[in-house]
């Protein structure tokens, strides 16, 4: 009987914490449609299909504009998501690509193609939930070809 009581109390405390953290909703990573001149689409000439791929598979974590799904409003999912976005933007931010030096841009492009070829990006934990962000073989080839073209021009 006592054990049941313990269980009940722990359950209630857990539930209370879960309700409380719902109130923690930090500022969202959204630019309200403002594309700055530093955005990669303004700096480089990107084919439409590649743009589309970047938009659906990369920008959520690698730009200043995340397309938040409905469940992002539920904690603790949100905390995890913000962490991924912060880290993603630190390593590569397509919204501020133009602020990188030429050398850094070059290396970033090179890293993009390598990460994609190695299936390291997009993260598996991300594609597991965002099914449509998973890159098909032809998507990968298109990105790699685009990167190669860009690097040849430099």
């Amino acid at each position: 009987m006592l054990r049941l009581r313990y269980f009940k109390i722990f359950f209630l405390i857990g539930f209370g914490v879960l309700v409380l953290i719902q109130f923690y909703q930090p500022a969202r990573n959204m630019d309200e449609g403002q594309v700055t001149p530093l955005h990669i689409t303004e700096v480089l000439d990107i084919p439409v299909n590649v743009r589309q791929i970047l938009q659906t598979s990369c920008y959520d974590c690698h730009s200043n504009n995340t397309n938040y799904p409905w469940y992002s409003y539920i904690q603790p999912g949100r905390i995890l998501m913000e962490y991924h976005i912060k880290e993603g933007k630190e390593n590569l931010n397509f919204s501020e690509f133009g602020s990188y030096s030429k050398r850094k841009q070059e290396n970033k492009l090179d890293r993009i193609s390598k990460q994609i070829k190695a299936n390291d990006m997009p993260l598996r934990s991300y594609t597991f939930i965002h099914r449509d962000s998973k890159l098909s073989e032809s998507d990968k080839i298109e990105i790699v070809n685009w990167v190669n073209r860009e690097l040849k021009q430099k």
Partner: protein, 196 residues
Amino acid sequence: MNKILFITLIISLGACQSKETKEAESNEQHHDASATNSETMDVKAETKAGNTQEDAMDNLITEYLNLKNALTADNAKDAARFGEKVVSEISEFDVDSFTSEQKKIYDEVMDDALEQAEHIADNANNIAHQREHFAMLSRDVDDLLGVFGTSKVLYQDFCPMYEDGKGAVWISEYKEIKNPYLGTKMLTCGSIKKEL
């Protein structure tokens, strides 16, 4: 019931307390760090009168070579440690006294070099990843040497096998080849491209 409430209270208090002490500790560390920082600043200020750019470059090269030697020995942990030192040496350059040519290279290469070194520092358990970034860092360091010069005798070496035949350069203080990309597996693979 009361007992349980009491226990949870104790636990949460304990958690708070340990957090506080941690903060206090990190504050202290912070303090220490800033103290040593001002010391190194003083040293820098003294050397400023001399040839600062070359000194800064020499210090950067020293840590770069340490990093390179760690990779040569397949030691990812040391590589990460020296990667961090490369990061701190990069920020020691006195940007205000640059000539326009130096400024140009610095702007072009430094934020890249900084990032490569950071990645090396952050990947103490992934030497393949460290080497990828080391290839990019080496190219940056090579360009910096061209503009800032050094008092050391150095060699620019080339590993033709790295990255499926794309190849990569590295800077070395040794005349004999000790390859940081292939490590102990193929230590003597590569060639000297030029003496710096």
